[in-house]
C-alpha cells in the first residue's frame, strides 16, 4: 500500500481508531495484522520473507542471550547475517553480480549463459533487513537483552509506518515503545496529522511536479541541451529530497498519531556546510547505521590515514550500492567517499584561502559559501544517482560542461511539454515556486520548528494555512505513476 493512495487514507484512520479503542494488551496484535496487511496489499507472498527474517532473528537473539561464550554468540550472529544479507543478495544483487561477471568474462568469450533470476524486488527489503540486523548486532554486542515477546518483536520488524522506506529504527529506541501505553493526546495526534499533511504536500505537490520535468530530461538526455540538463539536475535534488523526506514525514506523523516516536531522518540537509555534515543531515537513519555497524567496526578514523581513506571509500560505496544494484549508485557512493577524502587532503589549502580572503571576519558570507559549495558537490553526485546508466551520466556531464551561454535559456521549458499545448513556462513557474516555498520555510525553521511556529498563530491563520495546503494538494498535485523513489531501494 502506498501512503499517497486513497487506500491509505481509509486504512490509516481505521487502524488508528481501532488502536485507541483496544486495550493496551491487544494493541500489538492489531499493529501486527495491520502491518502485514499493509505489506501484503502489494505482493502477499513476499510477506513470507519478512516472517523468515523475523523468525531467524528472534531465535538467533534468544540463543545469543542464553550464553556468555563469545564464540557461540558469534555463531548465531553469523546465522542472522547470512540469512538477512542472503535474502538481500538473492533478491537485490544476484542479477547484478551475475551480469557483471558475465560482462567481465564476455571479453574472454567464455560464457553467455549466466543464470539470472526473474523476480520482482521485494519492496522495503533493504530497510527491514537492516533494521532487524541492527537488533541482532546489538544483542551480540550486549547493548540490549534479547526480546522474548515474539509478537512485539514481529511488530518491531514490520511496523507499517516505517516498514517499506524507513526511518531504519534501532531496537533500543523503538522496541521499548511497544510496551508503553499510549493514550489519545489531542496535541500529539494533531501534531502527527500536521506532519502527515506536510509530507503529502512535499511528495505530491513539489516532488511529483518536479519529477515530470526530471523524468523527461533524464530519460532522454541526448535530446536536451545544457540549460534543461542543468535545470533538471537542480530539480532532481529537490525532487528526491521532497520525495523521501515527504515519505518520512508521513511515516513519522502516522506513528506519532498512535504515540510512537520515530527517529529523525532529515535535518535540512541542503544547508549543510560540508559533505560530512551533509551525511549527518541526510537519511540519518541509514548513515548512522553504516557508522555504528560498519564504519566504527572497521576502526573509523582512529586508524592510520590510508586505512581511514579506505574505510571511507568502502563505507560510502557500500551505502551507494545499498540503494540498488547498479553502477550508477556505486559511482554516487564512491564520489561521496572521494569528497570526504578530498576534504581531508585539501584542509591546509582551504585554511589558507580563508585567511587570504579574510573570510573569518565575515562569518555569514563564509557560511553561505560553504553551504553553496557543499550543495553543488552533492548536486554533481546526484547526476550519477538519477542517470539511467553510467553512460548517460557521463553524457549529461559532458553536455553540461560544453556550456553554450547563448543556448542556456533556450528550450528551458520543453521538459514540461505534454503535447502541442505548450504551457512550459507556467509549469516552470509553479515548480520554482514550490522550491522557493520549501527553502523559505526551512530558513524560517532555523528559529524553531514548524510545530512551535504554528502553535503561536491564531486559529484562523492556522486553518487558513491548512485549507491552502489541502487545496494545493488537490489542485497542484500530480497523481500519475507516483511511487516513492525510495520504495525501489
Amino acid at each position: 500500500m502506498q501512503f499517497n493512495s486513497l487506500e491509505y487514507l481509509i486504512f490509516f484512520p481505521i487502524v488508528a481508531a481501532l488502536y485507541f479503542a483496544l486495550p493496551h494488551r491487544f494493541r500489538w496484535i492489531l499493529l501486527l495484522a495491520a502491518s502485514y496487511f499493509f505489506y501484503m496489499c502489494w505482493k502477499a507472498e513476499y510477506a513470507l520473507l519478512i516472517l523468515l527474517s523475523t523468525l531467524v532473528d528472534y531465535w538467533a537473539a534468544l540463543r545469543m542471550g542464553a550464553t556468555e561464550q563469545r564464540k557461540r554468540r558469534r555463531r548465531y550472529l553469523v546465522v542472522s547475517l547470512i540469512v538477512n544479507l542472503g535474502l538481500l543478495f538473492s533478491f537485490k544483487y544476484f542479477n547484478f553480480v551475475s551480469h557483471s561477471i558475465q560482462g567481465l568474462l564476455g571479453g574472454l568469450d567464455l560464457s553467455n549463459d549466466f543464470p539470472m533470476l526473474n523476480i520482482l524486488l521485494p519492496v522495503g527489503i533493504s530497510f527491514y533487513t537492516f533494521q532487524t540486523l541492527s537488533y541482532t548486532i546489538d544483542v551480540y554486542r550486549g547493548v540490549r537483552e534479547p526480546e522474548r515477546h515474539f509478537g512485539i518483536f514481529a511488530v518491531y520488524v514490520s511496523f507499517f509506518p516505517q516498514l517499506v522506506a524507513g526511518p531504519i529504527e534501532r531496537s533500543t529506541r523503538l522496541l521499548p515503545q511497544f510496551f508503553e501505553r499510549h493514550g489519545f493526546e489531542y496535541n500529539r495526534v494533531v501534531d502527527g496529522l500536521r506532519l502527515m499533511l506536510w509530507g503529502f504536500f512535499k511528495k505530491i505537490v513539489i516532488a511529483d511536479r518536479l519529477a515530470v520535468y526530471v523524468n523527461q530530461v533524464y530519460n532522454h538526455p541526448g535530446d536536451f541541451s545544457t540549460g534543461p540538463l542543468i535545470l533538471a539536475t537542480y530539480f532532481f535534488a529537490f525532487q528526491i529530497y521532497c520525495d523521501f523526506s515527504g515519505y518520512t514525514d508521513i511515516a513519522i506523523g502516522s506513528a506519532r498519531v498512535m504515540g510512537y516516536d520515530l527517529m529523525e531522518n532529515f535535518r535540512r540537509p541542503y544547508f549543510a556546510r560540508s559533505i560530512a555534515e551533509f551525511w549527518r543531515r541526510w537519511h540519518i537513519s541509514l548513515s548512522s547505521w553504516f557508522r555504528d555497524y560498519l564504519y566504527i567496526s572497521l576502526g573509523g578514523s582512529r586508524v592510520w590515514r590510508w586505512r581511514w581513506y579506505y574505510n571511507l571509500i568502502l563505507v560510502f560505496t557500500l551505502s551507494g550500492l545499498w540503494h540498488g544494484a547498479n553502477w550508477t549508485f556505486f559511482a554516487w557512493g564512491a564520489l561521496h567517499g572521494g569528497y570526504m577524502i578530498m576534504s581531508d587532503l585539501t584542509r591546509p589549502i582551504r585554511e589558507k584561502l580563508v585567511s587570504v580572503f579574510r573570510l573569518r571576519r565575515r562569518p555569514t558570507l563564509r557560511k553561505w559559501l560553504q553551504a553553496g559549495i557543499t550543495f553543488h558537490l552533492v548536486l554533481l553526485a546526484w547526476v550519477f544517482f538519477r542517470a539511467n546508466s553510467l553512460g548517460d551520466a557521463v553524457l549529461i556531464l559532458r553536455k553540461i560542461a560544453a556550456v553554450d551561454l547563448a543556448d542556456l535559456a533556450a528550450d528551458l521549458t520543453r521538459g514540461f511539454y505534454a503535447n502541442d499545448l505548450s504551457r512550459g513556462w507556467f509549469d516552470l513557474g509553479a515548480a520554482l515556486a514550490g522550491i522557493g516555498l520549501l527553502l523559505g520555510l526551512q530558513l524560517a525553521q532555523r528559529r524553531g520548528g514548524l510545530s512551535s511556529f504554528l502553535g503561536t498563530r491564531p486559529v484562523w491563520q492556522r486553518w487558513g494555512l491548512y485549507y491552502a495546503v489541502v487545496m494545493a494538494i488537490i489542485l497542484f498535485g500530480v497523481y500519475e505513476h507516483a511511487e516513492f523513489i525510495y520504495f525501489q531501494f
Binding site: 493514550g183 489531542y186 499545448l421 507556467f426 487545496m471 497523481y479
Partner: protein, 456 residues
Amino acid sequence: MRSLSISSSDIVRLLKRAAGFAAGLAVIGPIVLFTLSRIPAPDGNDYAYRYSLYQFITRDYTLPGGYGYTLTRFRDIEEFRDIDVLFLGSSRCYYSFAPHVFQRLDLTTFNMGSPSQTPLNTRYLLDHYYERLNPKLVVAEVNLHILEKDGVESFFDLMVNTPPSWDNFHMSLATRHPHAITGMLVHALSYLGGSFDDVRMQDRPMDPYLGAGAMEARNFNEESFTETPAAVQVPNRQLEYLSDLIDFVKGRGCRMILVVAPIPREWRSVIVNYEDVTAEIRSLAAAHGVRLYDFNQAMTLDSRTDFKDFHHLNANGAKIFSYDILDSLLDVPEYRRVLNIKPALAAEVYNGRGIAFAQQGDLDRAIDDYHRALALTPQSGIVYYNQARACQKAGRTAEAIEAYRNFVRFAPPEYARHVEPVKAQIEALRASRLTDMETGTRQQVPSPQTALSSAD
C-alpha cells in the same frame, strides 16, 4: 498515564474539529474552483473551450474537440436510434472499423470509440447512450495498452467534449482522481451562463471524420519503431469494468464480441506477455459466454502500407480488417440471424472482396471468397464466372471447367451474351487438359476479359 475520561474528551474535540474542517472545505473548495475556472487562461490563446487558470494549474492538456473528433462524434450520436452494430473502444476502434464495409450489408453502425477509452469510461458511456442506440450486436475493441490506463485521460476528453451529465459525474468519481472530480465540478460550473453549443473544433484533413462516429487515416506509417520489449500490466479494476460491461450488454439481451484489433508485427513482438494477457481476457469473456477474436494471430497486414502509425490502421488496413470482421460475424449463424443479414448482400461482399484479391494476384484467397459467396447464394452465376476465371488463372483447370459449367447453368439473363463464349472456353479448356495429359505440357488458353459483379 492519563485517565480515560480526559482521553475521550480529547477524541470528541478532534472529531468536532475534523467535522468543522470538512464542512469548511465543502464550502471553500467549490468557491476556489469556481473562481479559478472564471480566470481566463494566462497565455491568451483563443481556445474554443473556455480554458482557464484551473486547467493550467492541474496540467490538464485536453484538447477542445479532441484528437479523435470526440466532440463531433457525441453530437452526431444524438441522430442515431436502434442501430445494428455498436463499436466500443479506444482510438484503435474508430480507426479500425470501416463503416462503408458494414454498409454493404445494410447494417447501420455507430462507432463510440474515443481516445484512450478504457472499460471504466465505456461503462458510464453505455449508461448514458445505450438505451437510445439499442444495438443488436456490440463489438468491443480490446487494446492491451489502453487496459493498462486508469481512464483519467479518456475521462477528460469525454468531459470536455460532451455536455455535463450525471453519468460523466459518476465516471469522474470512478476514476478516483482528484483532478477528474474537481475538473467535473469546474466543467459544470463553467457552463453557468453559457452553452455547450459554443464549443467547436477544427477539422483534420489527413484524418477525416466519416460519420457514424468513424474516422479514417489517409497516410502511411512513416514512424521509426523504437519500443523495447516490455510486459503490459492490466490492473484488476479495468478487468472488472470489462466484465461489468459484458454483463451490462448481455443483460439487455444483446449479442457481443470482443475484438483485439491488428497491431503492427513490431509492436506485437515487444509485448512479452501478449499471449498470457489475451488468454486471460479470453477466459474472462468466455465465462460470460462472449467470444474474443484476436486478429493478430494470423496477421497479414503490412506495418507500413496498412497502418497510419504504429498504433492505428489507415484506410487501407481498416478496409481489409473490416472484411475480416465481417467474415467472422457471417460465420456464426446466430449473428446472421440477429443482424438479419440478407444472404445475397453477404455473398456480394465476398464476391467483391474476391475480385479485389484477384486483382492483386492473390488467387487462392480470391477463390476462397468465391466459395464463401457461393455457400450463401449457390445459384449466383456471376460468382461462378469469377470463380472460374480465378481458377483458370491459377491453373486449377478442373475446377475452372466445373465453375464455367455452373455459370452456364445459372447465368442471369443480362449476362446471356456471355454464355456462348464460355461454352467455347470450356471446350478449349477440356482440349488443353487432354493435351496436358498426353504431352505433359500446358497450353495457353485465352483468358476472359473482365470479372463480373452485380454492380456491373
